[in-house]
Amino acid sequence: MNFANLKISTRLWLSFGLMMVIMAAIVITGVMQMRTMNAATANVDRSSRNIESSLRILDGVNSMRRFQLSSLASTGVDRMKELDRVTAMGKALAKDAEELEKIQRGADTKKLAGDMFVMIQKYARGNDEVVKLAREDNSESMKALIQGEERKVQRQVIDVVEAFLKIQEERKAVRLKDAQSAETFAALVMYCLMAGALLIAVAMAFLITRSISRSLAYAMNSVEQVAKGDLTANIEVTSQDEIGQLLQSLKKMNASLGTIVSEVRSSSDSVSTASEQISIGNAELSARTEQQASSLEETAASMEELASTVRQNAQNAKQATEFAVSAAELAGKGGEVVGRVVKTMEEIQASSKKISEIIGVIDGIAFQTNILALNASVEAARAGEQGRGFAVVASEVRNLAQRSATAAKEIKGLISDSVQNVDAGAELVDEAGRTITDVVTSVKRVSGAIAEIAAATGEQSTGINQVNEAVTELDRVTQQNAQLVDESASASESAKQQAIRLAEAVAVFKVDHAEHAPAATQAALPAKAAPAALHAPKAKQLKHTVRARNVAGVRKEESHAKTEGEWSAF
């Protein structure tokens, strides 16, 4: 396994692990040494404790002795008290000695401690004697015992204790020395270990640091290059640790940066092209808007003419109405005259009728006369010869009757002629009346037609107004269009500027495949900006004179209303 290909974390883990192991070793060693030192110290301590115990025992024995002596000095209760003290002390000492013996490990000390125990017991027993004597108030024996045997025993105890002490002290010194040497040894061991550990640590630190910092330096260098904009740097990935992976990623980043820059460049190119196209389109649009404006002008002019025509129409309609009114008046007069004629004719007819009646009467008379004459003839015929003269008379009468009838007929004929004439006249009058009625109707119709014309003229004027409004609207829209063209031009201009800036921004980068030389695009853009700028001011000119010509000058003529009112039933 190549050290360099280990991951840094692994390397660090390894180093630290090693350090930890060394530390553990050092600590364990230290602990072991301390244990040794502890053991040595414990030994020393044991000796000290032995010494302390034996000293205590010694002291205790001496106290016993003192109490005993003081008991001699005191009397009564105090004496007993002292002696009790001795007893107690004796017991305690005995226990101590017993304990001391137990803890001895060496045979000699054990023996001595046993001796101590025995001696103390002996002493205690001696004290019991003393107590007994004290109770007996035998001061003399007491004194003798105390100062005799007891003193001896006490001396013996003391000797033993001192012997014990001596041994113990000798032992203690030895043990002390042991402890010291152990301590020295331990220190030495620790120092050695420390040195070794330091060495290893330094070595490891050196190695790892070097490897890491070298790779890092390389990586930094590469990144530095990229930061300067040189995307052409070739990054070598030599290891597979984290730095290596970082370099790998850096390489990829490099590549994608290059791609991005290339894309940005091409996009900025496209934006420039698009902006140019927009400018061209704008120019066209503004030209068309101008055309539109001029068309609107023409439309407005046509509307003006149309409006004046409509006005004329209205005036003519008014005139026509007036004419119709006067015609109606004349017709009215005519009607009046006709009415009078009719009346006259009716009178004539009435007279004729009367005459006819009279003629009828005359005719009837003639008829009756004729019949009478006939009757007379009949009678005459019946009468035969005698009636001849009468028959003549009768025939004369009949002649008369016939003449009268004839005259009546003539008159009738005349009357009927007259009546016919009157009828004809009446018919003519009727005709005249009808004609007048027709005239009236025609005039009414004419008035109606004129009214319609007037209404239509009104509608026309309304329509013209609406068209005017529409034209105004169109004009407004055209202006808006011009504005939009302006805005569009400026927007496209700013887009172009943005594209230029973008190109400049990425011009820093050096890419492997330099398809778009930034300088070239920069040169192309300003040239195309000019024509668009040229067209923009023209577009502004469209805010101009296509005003809504106020062609609403056609008043709604009231002519149509007037004529209809004048016509009553005719």
């Binding site: 004729n370 019949i371 009949v378 010869e385």
Partner: protein
Amino acid sequence: MRTTELMEGDNAAGKEQFLSFQLGAEEYGIDILRVQEIRAYEKATRMPNTPAYIKGVINLRGVIVPVIDLRMKFGLDSAEYNEMTVVVVLNLAHRTVGIVVDGVSDVLALAAGDIRPAPEFTARVDNAFVRGLATIDQRMLIIADIERLMTGAEMALVAVH
């Protein structure tokens, strides 16, 4: 200006006198001696259960006279009754009958020679009573035997005085 008007001397020459009257489009002549009088038409009182051609009866100076409409009798188109309509009151064999005619023209004197015999199909009239035809001025007169006409079987309904 009737050429055959009654003139002096007519009666002596054997001429008969006829009363001419119109009935429908034809002119008839009847013997004047049968005629009692001529009257203007007056409304006749219709008698129930009588044929249609019997117009009714009139009061003629106290005499009740039946009136017959010859137009209807002859089956001619019925004409209206106006002021020219006359009733010829006939005296026939003690019966007085009135006939409604359209008009009376004339009293004429005709010789027997003026009367021509009638062909079979002259008018829509029962030919039995037609004595003949006479031409006066371009007018054709149907000379009728009034008595024969009025006393036909169909006249049986006429009241007998």
